[in-house]
Assembly symmetry: C2
Homo-oligomer: 591 residues x 2
């Protein structure tokens, strides 16, 4: 079906239901960062496939709101359809809410599917439309009625993460959560985001591309832990493990009914960002305490077992990277045709050889030359570039392993580099090493650390528009809160957290540079002024030194790099063949 035919079908069901405007997004019921295809309603309707986009359809108009990252791609994707591109970052452009309030009249009705819209978002819409005397209908999934070959809910099998990897049993984790529930004075807690359940019940899922979670809920009360999941996903092993731990298993859909009958005296903890409007409506009769999930904080502090495994995973990950770099340089030298896409596949195949590899942790960003300047670049057949023995190549990739999640970025020269490339690269490296070697007081926030990182780049008139770093899950999502390093992040950087450090520098149309390591927050010292923390470096993939402009990199950073590369040689060489060892040895030479 063409987009305009889909719009016609949608308008027909809108008319039948007395809906004057309908909002269509790609959200799933858990507001996951990555969703299964079944929930990609907006992508299906509009053919726009970027990560951020919302379509609004009225009787005589249709528009798609997206941010500046996707302007160019969306324009091509929407070409030929009646859907107008709304550039939400442009000055004077109305947001969806304001646009609808300006274009509908009192008494008209806006519809959206409350079952896959987050409570926070939906509540804002409902309240604002009410003030403007516009009605809302949140009960209708109109896309379901017109999307004939819509994918069924995924049926990916669960697998258990052994306690020897997780470091804590289900029972221990449940006890920890119940302690926190007592502290917060709640009798029930709904784990809305899917990775909360994965962490608590020591399992992973296979429902969603590039994500290790599954569609599920867990409800903890003082008396029971109930896991809502499609029973077809359970193997006998996982079923037995859950039963032994005293977990009750119910059908995924049973959550609605169970919440509806929850006793009104119960104080229930829910997270408004990770519960759908429909579910929140089902527990309106209880006292809902809206707060961030208890599991968010618990799982952000990695235990010793998790850290130990992650360290090994990152050695394996770096080994795969070195194998890839050796292959890439040799191939280019031999004049073989290597493209961003073929390089991406090759890198994935090297990672796949490593113990415990499940899948990539996100779609690799293979940004050769000017493609490196597109921060969220996703290569496909149409954009694929041939790698030439010139310019620079930004590679941001990672793996999801049974016992750890990785995320590494390196920028390498493919031939001679310009003075500007070296200058940009050295400043990025300067900033990155400033943060890798910082000491900070307990209680320091992501924003404070972000300022420290950017200082060297700011001094030289450089900046980058993305955050400096994000938390990483243990064999879970590659972007995991609560902590993060950015100018607006007020979360404290706590002992045991795992975070990326990834400053960058981008010149549109020319090149992009980013260097990214993962770090672990550890104790540095304790004085009469309190505890001070530092970052333990976890990533041992060589950092190219040909691109360094020595005169602007402080000597202590050069010393750091030399020690780093000496350590890498020791750690990685045993797993490499002769050719790879030779490449690594050259790359790790002292400067």
């Amino acid at each position: 079906m063409q987009t305009d035919q889909k719009l016609a079908s949608l308008r027909a069901v809108m008319a039948a239901e007395n809906i004057d405007a309908y909002i269509v997004s790609n959200a799933d019921p858990h507001q996951n960062e990555y969703a299964a295809d079944r929930w990609k309603s907006r992508a299906w309707l509009s053919d726009m496939h970027g990560s951020n986009g919302t379509v609004v359809v009225t009787k005589d108009w249709a528009g798609l709101w997206t941010d500046s990252r996707y302007y160019e791609a969306a324009e091509l994707e929407l070409a030929g359809s009646e859907i107008e591109l709304v550039r939400m970052n442009d000055i004077g452009v109305l947001d969806i809410l304001t646009w609808l309030k300006s274009n509908l009249t009192e008494g008209q009705t806006v519809g959206f599917n409350g079952a896959d819209t987050g409570l926070r978002q939906a509540r804002e819409w409902v309240k604002s439309f009410q003030q403007a005397q516009i009605k809302t209908n949140t009960q209708l999934d109109l896309i379901e009625r017109i999307w004939e070959d819509r994918p069924a809910p995924p049926q990916g099998e669960l697998f258990i993460v052994d306690d020897s990897y997780a470091g804590k049993s289900i029972e221990e984790k449940v006890n920890e959560v119940r302690d926190k529930m007592n502290e917060q004075g709640v009798e029930a807690y709904l784990l809305g985001r899917t990775d909360e359940s994965c962490w608590l019940l020591n399992f992973r899922g296979t429902d969603i591309k590039d994500s290790p979670t599954t569609y599920c809920y867990t409800l903890i009360t003082e008396a029971a832990v109930t896991f809502y999941v499609d029973p077809g996903k359970l193997t006998s092993t996982s079923k037995q493990k859950f039963q032994t731990a005293g977990i009750t298993i119910k059908n995924y859909d049973a959550i609605v009914e169970d919440l509806t009958v929850l006793h009104p005296s119960q104080r229930l903890l829910i997270a408004p960002n990770h519960i759908s409007y429909q579910l929140a409506e089902a527990v309106k009769h209880c006292t809902c305490i809206e707060s961030r999930p208890i599991v968010t904080d618990l799982k952000s502090i990695k235990n010793e077992t998790e850290v130990r495994h992650l360290k090994q995973v990152l050695i394996d990950d770096a080994t795969a990277m070195v194998k890839f770099f050796t292959w890439l340089h040799a191939g280019i030298k031999r004049g073989e045709k290597i493209t961003e896409l073929s390089a991406s596949h090759k890198l994935e195949s090297f990672r796949a050889e490593m113990t415990g590899f499940r899948h990539v942790s996100f779609e690799s960003i293979m940004g050769y030359a000017s493609d490196g300047a597109i921060v969220h670049y996703a290569v496909d057949e149409t954009s694929d570039k041939v790698i030439l023995p010139e310019n620079i190549f930004l590679i941001d990739s990672g793996g999801n392993f049974l016992h750890g999640t990785t995320d590494t970025t390196r920028t390498i020269p493919m031939g001679e580099s310009s003075q500007q490339q070296k200058n940009d690269y050295t400043l990025v490296l300067h900033s990155m090493l400033d943060l890798l070697t910082v000491e900070f007081a307990e209680g320091a926030t992501g924003a404070q650390l972000d300022g420290i990182c950017r200082q060297a780049m700011w001094k030289h008139g450089r900046n980058f528009k993305h955050g400096t770093g994000h938390g990483v899950g243990f064999g879970l999502e590659v972007h995991e809160g609560p902590q993060g390093i950015s100018g607006k992040n007020l979360e404290e950087m706590k002992l045991g957290m795992i975070t990326t450090v990834e400053p960058g520098c981008y010149r549109p149309g020319e090149h992009g540079i980013r260097i990214e390591n993962m770090v672990h927050t550890v104790l540095s010292k304790e004085t009469e002024f309190g505890r001070f923390f530092k970052f333990e470096n976890l990533t041992f993939c060589p950092i190219n030194t040909d691109l360094i402009e020595r005169s602007i990199l402080p000597q202590q950073h050069i010393d750091w790099l030399n020690a780093y590369h000496a350590e890498i040689l020791v750690k990685l060489s045993p797993s490499l063949n002769e050719e790879e060892q030779a490449w690594l040895k050259h790359e790790c030479r002292a400067i």
Copy 2:
């Protein structure tokens, strides 16, 4: 009347009004940082005079909640009364709301005076008590009924700030505000905080000690600007100035009535932190847009005229400081008895000689030796220390001038200093100069800048528990938002803002160190990555160099200090006598 007698009277009126618990604070109707004596109900009732404290009285119990800064003082102040000290920073201590919910039963009533309780605070209380089935009565000022000699509302005269100081006429400012009202889609805007009206209408007040504001409101609509103030405060000059600018003048109390009759179709902008619960109730029939005051942002960006005047004021202010330092050192040398209190009076008298001086901008912090370690130290007769020719002396003071507000801290040695004092001092200076010389991207937040400032101290295991800096008003409040430099401040540092930079280091029982300059955000450069800002230093008071441990201060900071002191000699010498010039010359010698 003794405290326990006051409590008995209060309980009698509580019983008569069926109030089971009554909350008493020091808040005034505008939630001003400094309030007139009339509104110091908690201080009157409890005899506790710190800036933070709230009393809760029930039939058979009374308690005062305060933070750790005041534990010691409050214990003495409450001694002999039945009021129990509640240490709100201690672990496990319930906050007022939770305590009341735990100690009252369903159907009982909590009372507080809605006329001087901020909307945000009151709304939280009312909502939470309602959920717990506890009633609230917000209509009663029970303190008014029992406080026989309660001061009347202050009657301080207003005075006009000439446009040649303000840099903009009332009409220009009103136009700017109306433009912003249009942008935000509001038809009316209530200026709740008193300094908003001072800024808009180019006047200052004399109602409140250490504060240049007056009790007033301004209501701006598309058709009118109405200034609500006691007419007894107006001189013929101010009256004429307001009339010429088209301002309608009404009695202070008339605001309630005018809001009550505001047309329901009006969209009214109010700031929930600076409007009382009672006033908010009066406009419940309108669509209230809760947002931060339009004037907050406008007045934080100082215009060229304001900056020019402030620069002159800060030269005068530093001149007064140098006269004071000369007097202090000579007196101590001669063996005169000088105490923290007498030094404070002398410093004020030097400031008072300067053009345009009105009053101190806050109570001076004169922290000799261990008193310097008490961050919010306020010297009085009982704590007054004699200054000896030994140890170090922290002096944090400022003046409110007709054409600028100042805030300066210096720490000076009174004799030989210990290695630790020098080490602490040098690290504080290092941090301060790191921030004074930083360059940062447009959009940088206070938290990012705070991290940059603390980095040197963190590295050496030092930290301080207060913010690094705050905004300063123009001839207005010495603490003025929105910007600030602290780990939790997400406001952007914008061009034209005036801010303090004041890191410190405190060793309880030993000494305290703080060094504070005021800075002006200016453009540093523009590159393809955007605009970059820096701080222009505004304070020209010598920074002691005897306390510097040279080996840990970077050479560029030593160069900065030498250039700074050379500039100070040129700027200040012409206004000093021979003795003062000699002192300054020695203090400003190159190191």
